[in-house]
């Protein structure tokens, strides 16, 4: 895999410095695949998509340092050639241009800045778990680095992890160093029928079984599990899973191999699965403690009539991530998520004024504002994208 080596950091730094001098905010953009995520705001474009290339990569160090504009598709292809993967399986989502054409342009910078992790998250960790170091342009227009290329590094505050999920509001990511994992030799997807309650009970029981599970989904009364290991281990694991189901969940049928597995997990990861595309209903992401009971059946707020006709929930991460399609008002969804010890974010089919993220407690928001003011004194990095006033 050839990735274009193109360092435009000097040009980017110049643009940031002039934005600081003129107090003109910047809208930081990579592959445009996650433009929908966060609030809209007016600002001059800072385009990172040409800032590409591998700065260092030695597979045996289990670490890669890569420029932020590098496409995820290219990065993953390179890692795959070396039998390695990004542990957090970042969603690409896709960029749809104004003619309706779809582009796989998602960048590693966008994946880190939004901190969104994919199907593997519950089993091998998140984007923030995998980050080892960053190089950024800070609020003074300086190029600075934090963290590094080694697993263990506790010198100074952990500003590299702080950058993950900060939605570009604290600095411009120029490059990132990420911990890698060996790529499992094979994947096997196993599916079986289950109601939502049964699915949550199965996920619960599987948490302490030591099967090589790397992804889980419940949708349309079917559980799908992805197992990743050598051919021989997958075979014994399949048998172990069925024995376990037989013993603990005798009413469930045994798990069968699903053959179009590659495209299925990619659809789940990138939200091209019909659950996400074939609806005009608002789509919410609920992040809840994994053992949280079945949400739609216990809460009248979501038990709408059409729940019986089309499946309006898709559950991932062994229960910790739940996608809900619902026209229920935002405040009710937020309260519902909170009542389960979690939170809701508004993903798709939002109105122009709908915010993506739930409000923070006032004393917590105050600390966010103080930190933002210190790290971005002129308020030029993606202002209001995450929260109004931040």
């Amino acid at each position: 895999m050839q990735i274009k080596d193109n360092d435009i950091s000097a040009r980017l730094q110049q643009q940031v410095k002039s934005a600081i001098n003129n107090k003109k905010p910047l809208c930081i953009q990579g592959g445009k695949s996650k433009l929908f995520f966060g609030n809209r705001f007016d600002a001059e474009l800072l385009d990172l998509s040409e800032h590409t290339g591998i700065i260092s990569y030695e597979p045996t160090e289990l670490c890669i340092t890569v420029r932020a504009g590098t496409k995820l598709s290219e990065l993953e292809a390179l890692l795959s050639e070396n039998n390695q993967i990004l542990p957090f399986e970042p969603p690409h989502y896709l960029f749809k241009d104004k003619d309706g054409n779809i582009h796989d342009t998602a960048t590693i910078g966008g994946a880190i800045a939004t901190g969104i992790s994919g199907p593997r998250r519950a089993y091998t960790g998140s984007a923030r778990d995998a980050i080892l170091g960053v190089e950024i342009i800070n609020g003074d227009g300086e190029i600075v680095s934090f963290g590094g290329q080694v697993m263990k590094n506790v010198a100074g505050y952990d500003l590299s992890r702080l950058m993950v999920r900060s939605q570009g509001t604290l600095g411009i990511l120029l490059s990132v160093s990420i911990k890698l994992l060996p790529k499992p030799a094979n994947d096997l997807t196993l599916s079986f029928d289950a109601t939502q309650d049964q699915a949550l009970a199965v996920f619960q029981a599987l948490r302490v079984q030591q099967l090589p599970i790397t992804a889980s989904v419940w949708y349309d009364n079917t559980i799908s599990l992805r197992l990743s290991a050598s051919e021989a281990i997958l075979k014994t694991s399949h048998t172990r899973l069925n024995n376990f189901l037989n013993e603990k969940f005798p009413t469930l049928s045994s798990a069968k191999q699903n053959t179009d597995q590659m495209s299925f997990w990619q659809e789940i990861r990138d939200h091209t699965h019909p659950f996400f595309t074939q609806t005009d209903k608002p789509i919410w992401r609920l992040s809840v403690p994994p053992a949280t009971q079945s949400i739609s059946q216990t809460d009248d707020a979501l038990a709408q009539k059409d729940d019986n006709i089309e499946p309006n929930q898709l559950i991932e991460w062994g229960g910790a991530q739940r996608w809900i399609r619902s026209r229920t008002p935002a405040n009710i969804i937020h309260n519902l998520a909170q009542s389960h010890g979690g939170y809701a974010s508004f993903f798709y089919n939002k109105g122009a004024d709908d915010e993506t993220f739930p409000a923070l407690a006032p004393e917590l928001f105050k600390i966010h504002q103080q930190l933002k003011r210190k790290m971005d004194p002129q308020g030029i990095f993606n202002p209001n994208k995450m929260y109004q006033g931040l």
């Binding site: 030695e58 597979p59 045996t60 160090e61 289990l62 670490c63 901190g115 960790g125 998140s126 923030r128 778990d129 003074d140 300086e142 600075v144 680095s145 934090f146 290329q149 080694v150 697993m151 263990k152 506790v154 010198a155 100074g156 505050y157 992890r161 702080l162 999920r165 900060s166 604290l170 994992l181 060996p182 790529k183 948490r207 079984q209 030591q210 099967l211 090589p212 290991a229 050598s230 021989a232 281990i233 014994t236 809840v288 994994p290 053992a291 991530q321 010890g341 979690g342 974010s345 993220f357 739930p358 923070l360 004393e363 917590l364 600390i367 966010h368 103080q370 930190l371 003011r373 995450m386």
Partner: protein
């Protein structure tokens, strides 16, 4: 730096209202046990030691100190190795040892809510009946407390596979300098807003006081195997580490010891270590039994190919414990060779192991001080133990210079001055080598967002630009000095 007597009286009067008299220590005899942490080369007496046991008391204590501008140094079990809990002469020690309760264990979500003074090992002991454990295992785990683990982002021997403290906690409650109680993180896999949980982890008590922690628990692996490989050349052992990882295997633990460390450990623990080897590797694999069997075959083959002269596979728990006993007793074992030793904590890219060991041995000759090396080789975290005698005048200083050279070497080869012990008081000068003035300025900006008057553990972890300039160790990037407007002496 000392507290004037009016402020001191006002402070003590206020503290008396908050905690019972026996939990407010002020006499010299009572304060002396708190004069240092695990880095005993540095000692200072604080003005007072306060030992609250409720969050409300902590809030009131912090508010009192905040109003009177009195520095606060938080302290857990005091086992830290970098002087992070070294007292401030004009401040108080806020001891959290009475926060020693495990509040709950959630066997459905695999978490546990604990107070900061709970010992690391006590969490695993409480979780064991449920088939669960807490993964980070710093060598002091029998004594060190979880609040300190979070403050220092503690590691251990299983970090390559299971991560450091930051990857193994989900939520903390902190008291900020104005006395506000904040919850950071959540019991879910992510939380809206900035990742302040990560920022707080490893911040060495400089951004807030940790008063409650939700840790993640893991199911205990079904099986464990330990392999020991001997090598005639240190270089071969270093290469073997990379080869194992190249095979797509992530060992639970991968430790390396050099000849002096092997000899010391063997004399102490009788672990059957090969005394003729230049280095040994200990490789622990864990997981499901089938997967494990497959991995043992691959690792054994890889080690042979990497020129291991001898390989021992310990399958019984007893044999495994014996092999680990040598490694785990390496520090006290080395302690028998010399009146004093100085434990370093740099990290390096794995490929640099052989080169760095060679350089360390050259430095050992240069300074005429012996050194024994134990490594968390899997994650490139080295612990050279420099042997010296504090009773010989100047030898501590020589040992410290030797140590500083090692840390600078780590930075030079692309590593870090500290992998798991923290910067604290000890490595503050080496921070000037690892970070540029612009980077240090950024750290101060973060600090001031949380603690504008710099009352939380002042003087630790982040050196002032002034200090770096005086040291002559200013890191200059591309020949430009950032912030030319700031005076430097």
């Amino acid at each position: 730096m000392h507290l004037d007597s009016n402020t001191k009286d006002a402070l003590l009067n206020q503290l008396k209202q908050i905690v019972a008299a026996n939990y407010l220590l002020t006499s010299k005899e009572d304060l002396t046990p708190y004069e240092c942490d695990g880095l005993s080369a540095y000692q200072r007496l604080p003005v007072a030691v306060v030992l609250p046991d409720t969050i409300e008391q902590v809030q009131k204590i912090v508010q009192a100190c905040s109003q009177l501008k009195v520095p606060i140094v938080a302290r857990g079990a005091g086992t830290g190795l970098s002087g992070g809990a070294l007292p401030h002469e004009g401040g108080i020690i806020l001891g959290l040892s009475r926060f020693n309760k495990i509040l709950s264990i959630d066997t459905n979500n695999l978490t546990s809510v604990v107070q900061p003074g709970v010992r690391n090992l006590a969490i695993t002991e409480a979780a064991r009946p449920h088939g669960l454990y807490y993964a980070p295992d710093p060598s002091s785990q029998i004594a060190c407390s979880i609040g300190g683990n979070v403050a220092e982002n503690a590691g251990g021997v299983h970090c390559l596979k299971y991560g450091l403290t930051v990857q193994n906690i989900q939520q903390i409650k902190i008291v900020t300098i104005d006395g506000t109680l904040l919850t950071l993180g959540s019991e879910t896999f992510d939380t809206p807003g900035y990742d302040l949980l990560a920022l707080m982890t490893g911040s060495e008590g400089m951004l807030g006081i940790i008063v409650e922690i939700v840790v993640k628990l893991l199911p205990k692996p079904h099986a464990v195997k330990v392999l020991m490989a001997s090598f005639d050349k240190v270089e071969d052992a270093g290469n073997a580490v990379a080869d194992i990882i190249a095979e797509g295997i992530i060992p639970a633990g991968l430790e390396m010891m050099d000849k002096p460390a092997i000899h010391a450990a063997e004399a102490f623990a009788k672990a059957n270590y090969p005394l003729d080897a230049a280095a040994i590797l200990l490789c622990e694999l864990d997981g499901d039994e089938d997967q494990l069997e497959e991995q043992v075959i691959v690792v054994e083959k890889t080690l042979k190919h990497a020129k291991a002269s001898k390989i021992v596979i310990a399958t019984s728990a007893e044999d495994q414990a014996k092999l680990w006993a040598g490694r785990k007793s390496a520090f006290p074992a080395v302690g028998r060779l010399s009146p004093d030793y100085y434990c370093m904590d740099g990290t390096i890219p794995r490929k640099q192991i052989a080169y760095v060991l060679q350089k360390i041995s050259e430095l050992s000759e240069h300074y005429d001080l012996r050194v024994a090396n134990v490594f968390h080789a899997g994650d490139g975290n080295l612990h050279p133990l420099i042997l010296y005698d504090a009773n010989i005048e100047g030898e501590l200083k020589t040992a410290e210079r030797f140590g500083a050279d090692i840390l600078e070497l780590c930075v030079k080869v692309g590593g870090s001055i500290t992998g798991e012990h923290g910067v604290g008081h000890e490595k503050i000068d080496q921070m000037c080598v690892q970070f540029s003035p612009a980077e240090l300025t950024q750290f101060f900006a973060v600090k001031s967002a949380f603690d504008p008057d710099s009352l939380l553990n002042p003087g630790k972890a982040i050196p002032t630009l002034h200090r770096c300039a005086e040291l002559g160790a200013m890191h200059v990037h591309n020949g430009e000095l950032p912030h030319p407007e700031i005076p430097r002496f």
